[in-house]
Amino acid sequence: MKKIITSLFLFLLLLKIEAQQEVQMADEMNSNGKIYVVVAVMITILIGITLYLVRIDRKISKLEKNK
Amino acid sequence: MFMNHDAELVTKNNKLKLKQKILALVKKDVLLEIRQQYSFYGILLYIIATIFVLYIAVQEPETKVWNGLFWIIQLFICINAVAKSFLQESKGRMFYFYSIASARDFILAKLLFNSAFMLLMSLMSLFLFSLFLGNPIQKATQFIGLVLLGGWGLSLVFTFLAAIAAKANQNAAIMAILGFPIIIPQLLLLMKLSNSVFSYSSSIALPTVLLIVALDILVIFLATILFPFLWKD
């Protein structure tokens, strides 16, 4: 009886592992923190573009005042 | 009481006038067409020539190709048939119409005339198509109905676009550029519908037909609202 239960339990565990393996995600990248590198790069690009836009905005404001 | 009655009478009168005006404008278009027969025969020759070229190129195609070719040819015939409706009007003549008719009457008359003209041309091209490229149609009456519906829809959209193109330097090429993206969905609907006439087993989906009719009504509605802005110069 005990054997059956343990084997059933192992079987269920196996099923669960298999179900998880079915969908591969970038779990490793999340766990070792490399994902933050990606975030940092993207945020830097975004901020760079923003600063550029702000600069253009300021320039146009100046031009509008000169009129 | 009297006022009310008077007002009613006036609106009735106006409605009558509107009808008469539109009919008069349509009559003028018909008369023009009869006088200058070269344009009518020109379109006719265009249909015959294209279908003959197709006949030489593909002879008797399978039903799917037949269907696709038929609607594409329909599209080009419509562009050619409708384009002239505004392009042929000279500036002076437009000015004259401007002084005697309202914009709404004018566009409604044009829509009416072009629809009738396109229906005629659709039937003609259907006849020639089945003559030259074989006749895979199993349900003839239904397909004729579809052809008329399609021709009507195409003519409505392109009439309005012709009005726009006439203002843009009388350029007929621009009409195609403006029209193709708008007409694609309607053409797809028509092709899908007409696929069912090639076999006895499948039947025409009524909701789709109603959808096309609704689209056509939408086009008429938009045309009457927007045309006055194109009209004044």
Binding site: E64 | V157, L188, L218
Partner: protein, 237 residues
């Protein structure tokens, strides 16, 4: 000279846009997402690719509103606005189209299946056809504008076409996905995507992302409009 406080009060939406976008980039990459086969980690593209479509449609809508305004009161400012919003909308649409083709060729389309090897097999996707139609309409709009010399006539006729095409565009975007077979998720519902498919945690990022991207588009458009108005100062009343 406006004080910084004034500036902040008037420009709050630009700051909001950037804050929301920063939030999108951080949360979009770090928040847990549902494990869906095939899509896997690429589901995060939802925060970027789908937002392009939303921004495009909103910008086109604003363009049409300005076209209507122009027809009502005939001020050339509204024509300038209508044109610039349409142009920025086109930019977002092109980005959406490009990212859509990239995303779908690696997910729904089976890379081992030779039928998916060519671009034409991917471009057959009804969503992409709908988007391509919207883009073609606005390209045609720009060509129409350029073909007319007279300023008032140009503004009036292109406004008419803008309204006409936009009104017919909506039924077609609604019809097309129901007509053709599609691989796109959520094909029976909303043209863009089925909102029931997204898990609640994804919504927390998705809605702010849409607002953020749209506001960014609006910012760029307003910059272009202001520049154009400066240039055309002479002809404007």
């Amino acid at each position: 000279m406006a004080t910084p406080k004034d500036y902040m009060q008037k420009q709050w939406w630009k700051i909001l846009s950037i804050v929301l976008l920063i939030y999108t980039f951080i949360a979009g990459l770090l928040m847990p997402v549902p494990r869906i086969p095939q899509l896997q980690e690429t589901i995060r593209n939802l925060y970027f690719h789908v937002c392009m479509w939303f921004a495009m449609m909103i910008l086109f809508t604003i363009s049409v509103i300005n076209a209507v305004k122009y027809l009502r009161n005939g001020l050339l400012v509204f024509d300038i606005k209508a044109r610039q919003y349409a142009v920025v909308g086109i930019v977002f649409g092109l980005l959406g189209y490009l990212t859509g083709t990239i995303w779908m060729s690696y997910t729904w389309a089976d890379p081992n299946n030779p039928a998916y090897a060519s671009f034409s097999s991917i471009a057959r996707e009804p969503k992409l056809i709908g988007a391509a139609i919207a883009l073609l309409v606005y390209f045609a709009y720009l060509i129409l504008r350029d073909s007319i010399q007279d300023l008032d006539k140009k503004a009036r006729i292109s406004a008419v076409y803008n309204i006409f095409a936009y009104t017919l565009l909506f039924p077609s975007i609604w019809i097309l996905p129901r007509l053709l077979p599609s691989l796109h998720p959520g094909k029976e519902g909303n043209p863009a995507l089925n909102f029931n498919d997204i898990s609640p945690t994804m919504r927390l990022v998705f809605y702010p992302a849409v607002i953020g991207w749209t506001l960014l588009g609006l910012w760029i458009a307003t910059l272009k409009i202001r520049l154009k108005i400066l240039k055309e100062k002479i002809i404007l009343p």
